[in-house]
Amino acid sequence: MEDLGGGDRVESGWRAGWSKLIRMGTTSTSGNELPLTAAQSGIWYAQEFAQGNPVYALADCLEIQGGIDRALLGEAVRRAVSEAEAVHVRCGDDGDGPVQRMRSADCVPVPTVDLRGADDPRAAAEEWMRADLGLPLDVTDGPLFTQAILVLGDDLHLWYQRWHHLVFDGLSTSLVAQRAAAVYTALAAGEPVPACPFGRLQELVDEDRHYRDSPDRAADRAFWLERMSGLLDVPALSERVAPVAHELLRETFEVPAAERDALRELAHSLGTDWPRAVIAVVAAYVHRMTGADDIVLGLPVPSRRAATVRATPGMASNIIPLRLSVRPHRGFADLVRQVAEEAGQVLRHQRYRYEDLRRDLGRLEDGGRVFGPQVNVLRFDYDLSFGGHRAELRNLALGPVDDLMFAVYEIADGLRLHIDANPAVYRTDELHRHGEHFARFLRRAVADPTRPVGRINMLDSTERARLLGEWSGDCHPAEPVPDHTLAMCFEEQARRSPESVAVTSDGTSLTYGELDARVNRLARHLIARDAGPDRFVAVALPRSAELIVAVLAVIKSGAAYVPVDPDYPLGRIAYILRDADPELLVTTSELGARLPVSGVPTVLLDDHRLGEELDALSDAGLQDGERIAPLSAMHPAYVIYTSGSTGRPKGVVVPHRNVVALLASTRPLFGFHADDVWTMFHSYAFDFSVWELWGPLLHGGRLVMVPYATSRSPEDFLALLADEGVTVLSQTPSAFYQLMRADQDRPEIGDRLSLRYVVFGGEALDLDRLAEWYARHPDDAPVLVNMYGITETTVHVSHGALDASTAAGEPGSLIGTSLPGLRVYVLDSGLQPVPVGVTGEMYVAGEQVARGYLNRPGLTAERFVAAPYGAAGSRMYRSGDLARWTAEGRLEYLGRADEQVKIRGFRIELGEIEAELRDLDGVRDARVVVREDAAGDAALTGYAVPKPGEAVDAGRLRAALAERLPAHMVPTAFVSLDALPLTANGKLDHRALPAPSPERTSLLMAPRDVEERGVVAAFGEFLAVPGVGIDDNFFDLGGDSFKAVRIARRIGRGLSVVDVFKSPTPRALAERLRDLGAVGGERPVLHRLTPDRGVAPALCLVCIPYGGGAATAYQPLADHLPAELELWAAALPGHDPSVPDEKLLTWEEAAERIVEEIATSVRGPFALYGHCAGSTLTALVARELERRGRMPRAVFAGAAFPDPDPQALLDSAHTRSDDSLHAFLGSLGGFEGALDDADLRTVLAVVRHDMQQGASFQTKARTQWGSQLQTPFHVVIGDADTATVGYESGHLDWKHFTSQVELSVIPGAGHYFVKHQAPELARILCDRLLDRPAALVR
């Protein structure tokens, strides 16, 4: 179960704790203490959670040429650094939240490191600096900077400077460098040092704070929400996501002066400056690398307004998104213009924090980004002079990067570019390639700015030649394809081996001689009835030897056969016959009578008159002169109809020559021979059958027709393979996985197999799944071969022989390399070849490309397109499939271009989820698909086939997967199936997968009254599921906590989120509504969160939430308690944002309600638990209960002990402003999720209320309680909870209220262990409350 909406969302960012929050300064700060800026807060918490990580720092190195006065330089640096107030603060959090304390300037050590004696002084300097960059800077004790002068030679010095990003940003480093240069220059000239130009830190902090409460901020927020509306997904150069690492990868290169000048000139001519042009290059590059047109870059900005603040060193910088529409056909100069215009607009709104924007856009909850790669333009004064000695700046570090950042700045002879990347996301070689490609891309973009973005070439000639030549297959033409028709090829084979068996079907066999004779007779009959070249003959027959005879006869007549699978829906058959308009339909009387053959003349093979006619015809070889026109290899051999994802089926017209080419190119790869036995497993309407038909017949092998029933039974099929001695098997992966299981279940059959090859086609192969096969069979008997293919390019395109180690070691679906005679290009949005490792779309050119789609010239012209590479005038087929090149030049298949699965912006690997699902106990096979609900939300549905004799349960599957996969990858619904439905072609039949509705496998009950109708309507609306029954479970239908809030609010009438959780079906929820109506809308406070087990529990635990929290925060704990413990949680009135009008209660009122309900609802012994601020209410409840003579077994106080100065706490709770409270929580990452402004205010009001109640209770209790409680207190603390530092003695302060206090500590737990360490907490409670070690629920 996910977090509930509402108050308890606050907690995730609320790690600094309750009591701290209460006491934290309001708007005034005492003495020389300043709050952190919003920018600083971000770094503070990031660093606190990654203590010792040295990447939160900026570093530069100034190289000063000439005989400088080292002592003076040291003095200048010391002075400039001393003047920068920001770096001399101490930051800390000693109970009042993070603050920076102003103090007199640190002594600034500027050590001189003399490296003149080193073998290679420069290398020694680099090493020295690298080592320093790896050391963390201590934010608590300082110093927050490192300065050093490295002496490389008498005339060569480096000033090394490093700053913690908590106190310094990019602008600051250049301010200090300029100041040091000015001081040195004055000192060297013996002139007075000019006045310090820096502003005061106080001004910067004030500007930041004033902004947060200003109308400007609201206007900025509105601007950004509008600007970012409709943003689905933010393209990045990698699909991987990882937290900031301890180091960064950096790729550096320089742009020569001439290019920089050209860039500058171009920018000027467009009315802008060179940095905007560089940003445009990055945008174009990201577009080309991802194929996305909606590009969002992150721009680090100084985020300062007043002139004095712009001259103030400190940390105020922000990152703002720059959203651009990049189209391949638009010129690069156009894009520069767009960047200039857009940047001009967004920079005006640069003070709005990107952390806030992420929250506004609902991206915090799912870790989603609001920008892709960053572009950091460093505006140094590169012409710094130290008393006439030129100094050149080189950046060494720019702070943390979680993905990738381009940084650029001007140097004397050009520009320097760094690409900083997170090593957890990018490999070194990958980053290196980006460096090379980007540098070339930039050069070529600038060289010809009118060139469309799609045509800028980023490859060097060697790489391009390899991609378009060797790898695509252009350098390996097959043997010239003989200009033969299939008819000629078959006749030749029949002459060679007339006595060999050609076809086995249902126990009968035909030799090549017999087959040819029957084919000749029927072909002559078809010719007599107008069949011939360029004409079509439809064939609708069951699987039989006659089917083979008929197909061959059509081929021999010169006509193209149009397969019509009799099992197809009648509508589709009628469509095919209408569209192809065949001369004849070859079928049987029974089928002829059943199928919609309207108007097409039939040839009924079982008609005895036809038998007599055929007997009268010659069975001798058919001469070309007998045909109505000469037959050539370019004439169509067949028309196979395929379904697209959209629109009507289309007939792919494939000539003889294509099939001859397919066999010519695969022959040397497989070494097919006359002893091979092939199966015809697939429907002859699926083009895999073309391979299964001509493979044996043109090599003298034997074709075994697989009866339909056998093809549906993996075990029977396995037996057939063994009995018939099949050597070449073609399978879709889906069908093979089932066969693999049969082989495992029946090893005695599997051991008799004679397979030489298993050829995969028709679907993506999941290499991982082959492990169980390889466990039982050697790599080479049979050889498993993955072949990517498409009907439009004649069955197969690529070939990749597999073995156990490839299958185990390679990611995804490796499809090998193109067949000889074919070329596969992987191209980007500009039709340019993509570099290694970059995803592009596959285009296939060569002998096997079909003629096009029948009757669809437009569709043909958009899919069979001119080939920009290869022979003049050639065509290529645009596959719509995604792939990338491995470093070895092999293709990895990545799915359909139009079917990228994304959920909440995450790319979902369905295969990964399927693998986990299959691994679960009791699951034999599984598939996961994305179904879109009516609201347009993509939702994952898992289909599981249980092992024989077992059953699968949706709840169990969901819970088990939730432990193995991130939440966004856990299907919202599960369906149990006896077997996965396959299409006639052996692929997963998506349309046959039933809609997910596990509850509805039983009876669907319609709503019976107005209450149920209302609830059903609300379910239908928010879950986007039609036809909800009254017993359908909200969560099984895909509901989550956010939707629960919306439902409760829509229904209203006092219904709360808790009600939806407790009564998740329309029937139960309607019942609840009736109850609410009966009691006049007053809802009970206590809710049982453990299931009703029908027996009296050993003990009840009554829980009171933390400040601002909801009852459902205790659900994880409830889920982890053993059956004999019952958990009730208090939903305090006014704490549920879905019921905003509810009145908040004082602690006294709340205690009274709780005590009353304990009296009526809770039977037997019980204990109380209160977390954080809730512990004070718990103490009050305990006192009231003791007064009434009903003593709790114990009181547990989680993550809390009394404050030594409750009055100060109370004052602070009154004075703290909403915005500062929110800002504080926001800076912690709190308030995540889709809280709108009204909700936010509600939650803040609740937080404040609980603060005040807790504080005033403590004040009153100390003065007004006459005696201590009798109930023992048990304090539970997380030892990583910064809110309860000092708990070792602090927990004893509970002795103000009770005589007995004990302590338990949860190691490693933070403040909210009630949710995040529920199992550990459950263990402590059980140990304390039950007289035995508890058998806990996992």
Binding site: G291, A292, R327, G454, L831, A861, A866, G873, R875
Partner: protein
């Protein structure tokens, strides 16, 4: 992430290319025209180009055989 294909860009500008025999090809006008093909129509919008090729009307038997 919406991945755009240069042949599917509704806002793009296109040609209809002809190979001199019997094939037509839609072609994004920003890209170089491949050798062996000539412009028969355009630059024009995508739909205008498809209309020029004449999808939708059955017409004569298509270019199925050479």
């Amino acid at each position: 992430m919406a991945r755009i294909n240069p042949f599917d860009d509704a806002e793009g500008s296109y040609y209809v290319l002809f190979d001199g025999e019997d094939h037509h090809s839609l072609w994004p006008s920003f890209a170089d025209i491949p050798a062996g093909w000539t412009v028969e129509h355009g630059p024009a919008g995508r739909q205008a180009c498809l209309d020029h090729i004449g999808d939708g009307c059955p017409g004569p038997r298509p270019a199925t055989a050479a």
